[in-house]
Symmetry: C2
Subunit: 428 residues, 2 copies
């Protein structure tokens, strides 16, 4: 038995805003984490977090504290025996639910707590999270999913069928990942805050490092977007993939018009062309810009939004986020929805620690759910990995399989204390 005794919450912020890293059409922040540690009656600590953009990280910290009573005193075994009841004790609390429901601050805090529980479960099992999940019996995986409000798109039986099928060819897929790693793309080349010559230099360097898929930010002045896009395309040649990300800045008709111009550089996808809640808007844009794919998900609040994006044929790429939704349990539902509808998943990363988390989810998806690498890439951003105990490792533009037990969520204690807000030395 492993019993959770306390929930420690840390407000950790990295001063990235000043450098222009992470600047886009909407966001310009200090990459931050609402960092949660579950202390137990044993030697292991469960680590989880949700990513925020700086100011306001104290609000998600407060939300974690509000959720903590649902975790303290519970054993991992009890949680594993009735996982949906546990998940609903966080997401369907009769008082806290009003603050979402299942969206925004309260749901992000749920994600941090739930992810910490999964980190602990994987550490207790002595395996990386991807392996714990990918090798779990079908019934047990299905029992971890709350199908409430998605049964019109995915039933437990359909989920079981997908997961059973995912056992075939497992060893071959695992061998391939062990040999080659998981495909990825880089977003480090084209932030809006960077001048043209920095974009060119970064693109050239990334290409030389082996990257064949790169993402740029768009949604500023359209002439600037076109000019920067041409620079990148000229550096990477016609065969490499160029993705674009508008971070929701456009209205629906504006997105369609902008992509008509940007089409000249052959974009592979347009990410977040409009407001994240606008399922119907994304569907209209997808019809208008095809064959360019519409991609979204980093700000999709929950499985109900993803369900609709798939039902409406609004997206060609689904970008799950590891900690905006309610943690691993909800991500499982989303991966299965994507598999059911035949849409490839390319997880959102960047920020702080998101690369560390989503590599596990992408690997799980390939090994057991989506079972294909066709159109699959994990985002990679080269920021802040040095603060993690088990940081991502890449080679030739691919993620190498994580091997340490857990969810790779643990931050170094020295980083937590140095960057704690407002008392850490960096902020004082």
């Amino acid at each position: 038995m492993t019993t959770i005794l306390s929930v420690d919450v840390h407000d950790v912020r990295f001063p990235t805003a000043a450098a222009g890293d992470g600047s886009d059409a909407i966001n310009r922040g200090d990459y931050s984490a609402t960092y949660v540690e579950l202390r137990t009656d044993g030697p292991l600590v469960g680590a989880g977090f949700t990513f925020t953009n700086g100011r306001g990280n104290e609000i998600t910290c407060a939300a974690v504290r509000a959720l903590a009573p649902a975790v303290i005193g519970r054993s991992l075994e009890e949680i594993a025996a009735a996982p949906v009841e546990f998940w609903r004790s966080l997401t369907a609390d009769p008082q806290l639910r009003w603050l979402g429901p299942e969206k925004g601050v309260i749901h992000m805090a749920t994600g941090a707590v739930v992810n910490a529980v999964w980190d602990l479960r994987a550490k207790v099992a002595g395996v990386p999270l991807w392996r714990l999940l990918a090798e779990m019996p079908t019934d047990e995986l299905v029992a971890n999913i709350d199908f409430h409000h998605i049964t019109d798109a995915l039933t437990p039986d359909e989920a079981s069928t997908i997961l059973d099928k995912g056992r075939h060819g497992y060893a071959e897929r695992l061998a391939l990942l062990e040999r080659d790693g998981f495909p990825s793309y880089t977003t480090s080349v084209g932030w809006l805050g960077y001048p043209d010559e920095k974009v060119r230099a970064l693109t050239r360097a990334a290409y030389a490092e082996g990257w064949r898929a790169m993402k740029m930010k768009v949604g500023g002045d359209l002439d600037d977007d076109v000019r920067r896009a041409r620079i990148i395309r000229s550096e990477i040649g016609p065969d490499a993939l160029l993705m674009m990300d508008a971070n929701q800045v456009w209205d629906v008709d504006e997105a369609i018009a902008a992509m008509a111009r940007l089409a000249e550089v052959d974009p592979y996808w347009i990410e977040e062309p409009t407001h994240a809640d606008d399922v119907l808007g994304h569907a209209r844009i997808q019809r208008a810009v095809a064959p360019i794919r519409v991609a979204t998900g980093e700000v999709a609040a929950n499985r109900v939004i993803f369900k609709q994006l798939l039902q409406a044929e609004a997206i060609g790429v689904m970008q799950i986020d590891a900690c905006r939704v309610g943690g691993v349990n909800e991500v499982l539902a989303e991966l299965l929805l994507a598999a059911k509808f035949g849409v490839p998943v390319c997880p959102h990363a960047g920020g702080v620690g998101l690369c560390e988390l989503v590599q596990h989810l992408a690997v799980l998806d390939y090994l057991r759910i989506g079972t294909s690498l066709d159109g699959r890439m994990v985002e990679y951003v080269d920021h802040l990995h040095e603060h993690f105990v088990d940081p991502v490792r890449t080679r030739d533009g691919r993620y190498l399989l994580p091997t340490a037990p857990g969810y790779s969520a643990a931050m170094k204690p020295s980083s937590v204390s140095a960057f704690s807000f407002p008392a850490g030395p960096v902020w004082r």
Copy 2:
């Protein structure tokens, strides 16, 4: 000039959970308010709040504190001169936006702050908020609306046309409201926490008081729902309206099946049949249950969700909420969207103070935007009005026009201190 000098935030909670008031299929709470007072360099104080369900009210309070720097030091005149810039300083802050965007805790806090600004504006003008807005020049009203992400459904020109048209017949409509008040319905008869005989007695009493439209909660055991619905229908006769509210408990197919059974008592609408984010699900339910109307909105996060509910023909009744969305400015956009699509607005009330707020919005809608009473009713719940300085007044099941300057949002200082959490005497 009136300059805002400080933002006082109070965590006010009323211990309603114990009595079963406000219990439904999903929520069971202590009605609470994140109560905001804007202190100025003059004698007037702007009051605003967002409603919460008890635990977690400290999180919305923290969010108000995070937003406060956008208000402190600004003058009302400056805000009125550039209202969308002001609104975006709250909703599109490059760091805080990530916590929503425009949904959940951070958006509810925005609503509290924005509503307090409008309360102050109306007090400075010396008129009730409904009059300030209903008699405002069209250009000025339009200038208060952020059309970002809704221009595919409503343009500023279309909004102007609706508002100009709303000037015709204004005096007659106002005279009618002054004489008769605004139609409403009561939700005080059929909470899930009440036993059958209490439901019967309350229904009988409400009918005797003049109510001809009543709402019951459904979504518990379906046989219980049918039995309670028959009790209410037998008490109110065939002509009075019986509305039902499932508070999102059903999945889509489950909602369709449940309403097929409940149709025997001739429900007028089914409110929140499924998850609040499920636009496509509501559309399927609406097609299946017609002529019963689908109603939703109290948990609709923002104008983008309302836009889609209207575009998808998913609702026959739109239930705006005064403080889940970003306050008066966003409600204006929603009222105009409803008018454009020809869907009647019946505001959500109940909770604490929501009746006080939404009466202004319903009156504004009738006087200047929707310009009809056909199918319009404001929810009425007989809870907690005694804590307000300018409480709602009703006669024969109708709201009387508020006359005091402001938005009727101010709570009595004695109530604020008695029910402050955790230090007030009620909670100690």
